[in-house]
Symmetry: D3
Subunit: 129 residues, 6 copies
């Protein structure tokens, strides 16, 4: 196991400790290297960089995946991660609502549905306000 892998796993244990096993297990017998790349590139080389904290990074990923609208599972993983690194559910919803202006209402509504599943599983609903 490389240094890069270990460095990436340290971040993943903070951001996605509850779902990471499942993703790797799913890739194990078919494309284990793709799992390794995810650890070694985004988590080891991007999320560890100075200049933006993990809280902001996860909000940005939530916004981007909501806008793209074609990665429901990963969006939920990153909503989860956004909570794990200290964002409030209300902040996450603000990001998703904002995306309606840039990628349209369907993308934003689907983003909220993803958030709802994650928040419900963590007993975070109803939100304040």
């Amino acid at each position: 196991m490389s240094n890069r892998y270990e460095k990436g796993m340290e971040i993943l244990k903070i951001t996605n400790k509850d779902t990471i096993e499942e993703v790797f297990k799913e890739l194990e017998d078919i494309a284990p290297d793709l799992g390794r790349f995810v650890v070694e590139f985004p988590y080891s080389e991007i999320y560890t960089r100075d200049g933006l904290d993990l809280k902001t990074r996860e909000l940005i990923t939530v916004g981007a995946l909501t806008a793209m609208g074609n990665a429901e599972t990963q969006l939920k993983d990153h909503i989860n991660a956004a909570l794990n690194v200290g964002n409030t559910p209300e902040e996450i919803i603000e990001v998703i609502i904002q995306i309606s202006a840039y990628a349209g209402f369907p993308a934003a509504i689907n983003g909220v549905k993803g958030a709802k599943e994650v928040f419900k599983s963590k007993n975070l609903l109803p939100l304040k306000k």
Copy 2:
């Protein structure tokens, strides 16, 4: 409740009277303002504008969502709305078939699948021709 909200709700009662409650209920405890924005912006400010009738507007939305291919639920809602404002199932299918030339066959086939679910639930199948 603002004037804009009421104006938007009048349109929504015409276009989506059977699904609107459910969408708002889903947003209620997590992002009620997003539901309000949908009423106050597209329905109140766009669908009420002169220059295009509701029949044409709903066909255009069906075409756009089919092309984008990442908003299955909303596509079905608008196929439903397209029927509610007076389009025939055959006209809706024409729109979806046409999209194959601009966004490819997978997008069009998935659009037809969405239409099939809506038409089936309203006993509109098989189509003429």
Copy 3:
């Protein structure tokens, strides 16, 4: 030349008589069959179908290409075609504005910019209202 080709060219002479030569000329020495496919499939087999008139079909294409946001030249060709088959500039702008709700404001603003180039070249500006 096949029947299908001739049938498609008849439509293209109505919708895009001013730009069609240029598209074919561009494809001539590199992918002439792609030009032939455009004539024989969308124009011959889709735009000639019953169930939607050319006016509505071109508005739907304008809406879809505005939403996709990655085909500026083709969007302008279809804005042009939409005019050629009898739509007013105001109707075309209504379509593009409506797309803001489904694909976001940047897509709609870029659609309007495309329309502006086409309308300007035909001395159609400023629009009424």
Copy 4:
């Protein structure tokens, strides 16, 4: 039945013999012409062209659909087709992994998930590596 239809069906019997019936059945009572267009255009006019063999063509389609990320069913059909024309599961996974660089990790991971379903149904897992 046209010549073009028959020519396309010959290819489809090679690439998708196990799923083709189902697709056509689904379109039968709602948009049979869309099914016919799929046979007559991509399968009859594109996949029969010289210059690329079916093996390479199916890998390219798998790559494109993985990158687009909004056509899960069709991606699985083409992963299946890629196997049917002689690609190994390992080659298909290489294509999908490569897409991570051009369309991001979520698209690639979702592509692998699609491949996993197809490979599993054919008892091809675990892959060699």
Copy 5:
């Protein structure tokens, strides 16, 4: 002029004071209402909401537009806005680099090119590190 319009213009004067005139001028003779909607909806109703500060909001928009990859002008406007509300060029670049993992390297490289134009026009290059 409505309250909503004035409220939105106050934000726009902070975020885009140097480019806003131009956008409105471009829309003036063709789709002035689209300009009004931009002021009244995203700027008046979203960017004024509690829960996220303007600094974070602009980074999220930069990330989303980089990921979508089809709105170069608007991306540059929001890179500009991100600077205007207090983000450093380095933070903006971090956002764009991060998007490579979710939407691929081409999207990220094109985002950097947009940033380069904006930073150059403001004499912010070379960046530190």
Copy 6:
């Protein structure tokens, strides 16, 4: 300079020897790490993998970027690379034409335009057939 970087540069010298300098120069004063990531991840870790040769890999990238339709510069770079590793212009055009079925005609036509620029600069036009 890491081993991974050197390994990636060896591939890049084969695929993009004529454009690579320019890309790195453009990133140098603003996001040099993004350039490094491109070398170390896709070129070092993906393009060097067994299971697909460079010829096939570059065709797949051309297909994916044509389908996505929002990365004109990178598409041209990879069309160039596809030639550099031994594909004929005719094979590249076959890939792009095939994409019309999956991402629509505008994407394919824009792909051909990109190819035309590259082929022209190398005196490869007109193509055979």
